[in-house]
């Protein structure tokens, strides 16, 4: 068993455990913190896969910005632990059955249809990493320049939308 495989197994255990913790914890703040840990683990997976830029973007954008926004909203609403509402009795067993079916189907289809070839190559050395970063940015700003610009417009629209949605409505006739 190689070092890579051991690292992968430990990290995947952490990832699955934190995802379960997010699902099962009663307190929304604990859920958000479990999710931060999960995102960080996934960022380490990206490093193992030789994608340093995506790993850093994952940590800054997901674990940093997005989850801080979540925590802000949870604390703003005081929604740490909501009173339990009555739920439909058949909902949870049905959800369990459907999700197990989904997991089996997805794994089966991925493995049989995608027929992915071979192993993940070893993570690149430091010099190699910088090379790959340069190559990726060349691709991003040449071949994918238009999608990149469209993304910036999308972010602007989202910002305007968020401001419009949360703005206090001012009555004209008053």
């Amino acid at each position: 068993m190689t070092l890579d495989l051991i690292l992968f197994l430990i990290l995947s255990l952490i990832a699955i455990a934190t995802a379960l913790g997010m699902l099962l914890s009663r307190n929304a703040i604990y859920s958000a913190l479990f999710l931060v840990l999960n995102f960080t683990t996934v960022a380490v997976f990206y490093l193992l896969l030789g994608a340093p830029f995506i790993a850093m973007a994952q940590i800054t954008v997901y674990a940093g910005a997005i989850m801080v926004l979540f925590l802000f909203v949870i604390m703003l609403l005081g929604a740490e632990s909501l009173p339990k509402a009555e739920v439909l009795p058949w909902q949870k067993p049905l959800a369990g059955i459907l999700s197990v079916a989904l997991a089996l189907e997805a794994t089966f289809l991925f493995i049989t249809r995608a027929r992915p070839a071979g192993n993940i190559v070893a993570p690149a050395e430091t010099a190699n990493m910088m090379d790959s970063l340069r190559e990726m940015s060349m691709m991003l700003f040449n071949q994918y320049l238009l999608p990149f610009e469209v993304t910036s417009v999308l972010l602007l629209v989202a910002m305007v939308g968020a401001i419009v949605l949360t703005r206090r409505e001012r009555r004209v006739h008053q």
């Binding site: 997010m22 996934v42 990206y46 739920v87 459907l98 192993n119 790959s132």
Partner: protein, 100 residues
């Protein structure tokens, strides 16, 4: 060397946990977090594929997915705050009427 199948199985497991979260939890914020978990699982599969075929297209796509997720969270959380203001609750079972 880690076989790519392991990454794909992990991604499928994480995606399924996200689906379970959407199905069993009634707190809108937790449901939203589960959606983020699903996006992450898909991203993991995409980076794994891009690492196997030695191309950066998958990573660039993941970059765009992260940007779109950020936009989605900004608008979604604004909507949740607005719903909380009118309903005083973010239980999704309470949101059964079209008109607030």
């Amino acid at each position: 060397m880690v076989p790519i199948n392991y990454y794909i199985i992990l991604s499928a497991i994480l995606f399924t946990l996200g689906v379970v979260g959407v199905l069993i939890r009634r707190n809108a914020l937790i449901i939203f977090m589960s959606v983020e978990l699903m996006l992450n699982a898909a991203n993991l599969a995409m980076v794994a594929f891009s690492s196997v075929i030695q191309s950066f297209s998958g990573q660039i796509f993941v970059f765009f997915v992260i940007a779109v997720a950020a936009a989605e969270v900004a608008v979604g959380l604004a909507l949740i705050v607005e719903i909380f203001k009118t309903k005083r609750s973010i239980d999704v079972d309470q949101m059964s009427s079209l008109k607030g």
